[in-house]
Symmetry: C2
């Protein structure tokens, strides 16, 4: 039997019209009602404050999701990688900010070629790649908006001082085929602060720092039309800061278990819309259930997944191909062969493990959406 | 421009004949010399003790790697999932043990169909899926070897008592188209005990428990031709236990950073052969270097990746698309644009993030091997 014939024995995990009970596992599933509510909530929040929403597509890598975000009013999307952006451009998305530094001849060459096919912008925190990009854009006869990235204390990328930010802004203004689009000011660390008050205070401090940078750039006669940043954890505060003109949250559409544990206060709230569906494959003791979902279907670096809708059942471990559940003696352990929904610990790398997300309207499969940029990390 | 034309702008990360310096990043790379040494060391260890080696292919999901393991004398391979096994059968591997419980009509149906095309065995720890499998095999006119899995204290799958093991062995002997191939006794938890002595003691205790199960099964007149188990951490002890007839280690071929931290004593030693290659994309301070490798290219649940060959440089964090490195002030921080090799924390889920592994002989790309079963988790 040929290799193709062997592989054709594998049936699809789901077909449109299937009910949840018919799905094979592990499957990544999206609850459309919750997802659509989340999209509308964030869009309304941004619009209420007159701030643009540019959702981060690194969270989902899925063109169908990006298209729905844009249809509701999003300005475009963010990507983190050049190949990821290529996949979204190929899917018809025309306005993409690469919220990251791009270094190396191969990546800069691709970025410049893609600039012929979409409205792109990118971050810089060093003169050298900025110069290389300008040269590559000249060669392609293409243009690109540049954001000077500042480090707000995350200790990742971004310039450290106001003087460096001003210098890079001036260098951008002086180089051909690049133009100063603004400042990127994103602090990933504070997104996950559990306390509402702590996130508010951190967001205020960050906004003040951003304002100092904008003022210094203005002082040398340069404008920053766009100030972009913010994630799901601080979006509520950042839209009202008067500093950001654009926010780039991603996880709000899905609400993984990590973000679900934040104190949300009385602001906008988001619902879990993303789950990994598993099957109980072993029930070796009266309280233990082993589910066929492992590290290759959901990631663990932001904590274990949480069994959804199973009061008294906790996740005690995640191995390569197993989730360990423990049921309190007072409750029923899910039976052998039953389906279990898990809320992933961290949505971004979990999406990247799957080729497809199974899209559910209530209990029925409405569509299968490909994870367009799955595995595209260059 | 068409979607295909856009995607064709992305060049391959590597071509045979390229030097390391020419690779685009992130790339998963395999050092063939170290890899081949590792394969030979484990094969010699198994042969010295007259024990079969059946490497676990969940570690790599790569048919080219499995073929090299078998060419050196491995009995066949282990898989963890039915779709994973299908991909290896399609690639021509004919002897596969599924070292896991398989539950659900769709999976059992596929397993029975695959049994027409390869010599397969599978684990059971419950009568219900055993009966379903027997029925499915009858329908396909196929046969399958059955391993009763026992829980050695890992608290995952496997029967809890000797009585249950005997009952399942008897049920297997009584059902059509399945036959008792033996006992699977694998303790994942003890593989990662840092201390050589602690792993030895745990391995001895486990072997004693396995012997009690074999004896009880023999007492009811049933034979267990194969006793399978062991991982990279205890293989050295398990081959000499007199109990195991087959070992199923996987990570030994690659030695991730977690296994690399074990005390190996004077026994067989293994070398790091697997790396994720990254580029320094930002150098915001004199001691900080940010590398373009994140959670979508290497996983973090077993600890952070380790920069290889960079004394005084430590990894301080891993985000979705960034590795944070910190250089001691006494050493040189890797410069912007330079390549950095990272030893992944955990090889199994890291392989599963990549479509291809770039195979290096010294400094030169020898081949690109597809990760055959990447993403096949059902």
């Amino acid at each position: 039997m040929s290799a193709e014939a062997i592989m054709s024995l594998i049936s699809s995990a789901a077909q449109p019209g299937d009910t949840l009970a018919a799905l094979d596992t592990p499957s990544l599933i999206l609850d459309l009602d919750a997802f659509e509510d989340n999209l509308k909530t964030m869009q309304a929040l941004a619009e209420h404050h007159g701030v643009a929403l540019r959702p981060h597509a690194k969270a989902h890598k899925c063109a169908d999701i990006a298209q729905r975000q844009i249809a509701l009013g999003a300005q475009g999307i963010c990507c983190q990688k050049v190949t990821e952006a290529a996949a979204f451009i190929a899917a018809g998305i025309t306005d993409i900010h690469i919220s990251n530094e791009i270094v190396g001849a191969s990546k800069i060459g691709l970025l410049a070629r893609l600039a012929k096919h979409a409205q792109l912008s990118v971050c810089v925190d060093h003169i050298q790649p900025l110069k290389s990009l300008s040269e590559a854009l000249v060669a392609q006869d293409a243009q690109m908006g540049i954001f000077v990235e500042i480090d707000l204390g995350q200790q990742r990328c971004g310039v450290q001082t106001i003087e460096e930010a001003v210098k890079l802004a001036q260098a951008t203004a002086a180089l051909p085929n690049v133009w100063l689009k603004g400042v990127q000011a994103y602090h990933g660390g504070i997104q996950h602060e559990r306390s509402h008050e702590a996130r508010y205070q951190a967001s205020q401090a960050a906004a003040q720092r951003v304002q100092e940078v904008i003022d210094a750039i203005a002082k040398v006669g340069l404008e920053c039309p766009v100030i972009t940043g913010a994630g799901t954890g601080t979006a509520l505060f950042d839209v009202a800061s008067g500093v950001y003109t654009e926010i780039q949250p991603g996880s709000y559409a899905f609400m993984d278990n990590d973000y679900g544990q934040l104190e949300w206060g009385e602001g906008a709230t988001f619902q879990h819309s993303l789950f990994v569906l598993g099957t109980v494959m072993s029930v070796p003791t009266p309280t233990r259930a082993i589910v066929d979902v492992g590290l290759k279907s959901t990631t663990a670096e932001s904590g274990l997944p949480r069994p959804y809708g199973l009061t008294g059942v906790t996740c005690t471990g995640l191995h390569d191909e197993h989730t360990m559940l423990d049921a309190d003696k007072s409750v029923h352990r899910p039976p052998l062969g039953s389906l279990v929904k898990l809320v992933p610990g961290h949505c971004d790398p979990t999406f990247n493990l799957h080729d497809t997300v199974v899209v559910m309207r209530g209990d029925t499969v409405e569509a299968l959406w490909p994870i367009t940029a799955r595995g595209l990390s260059r």
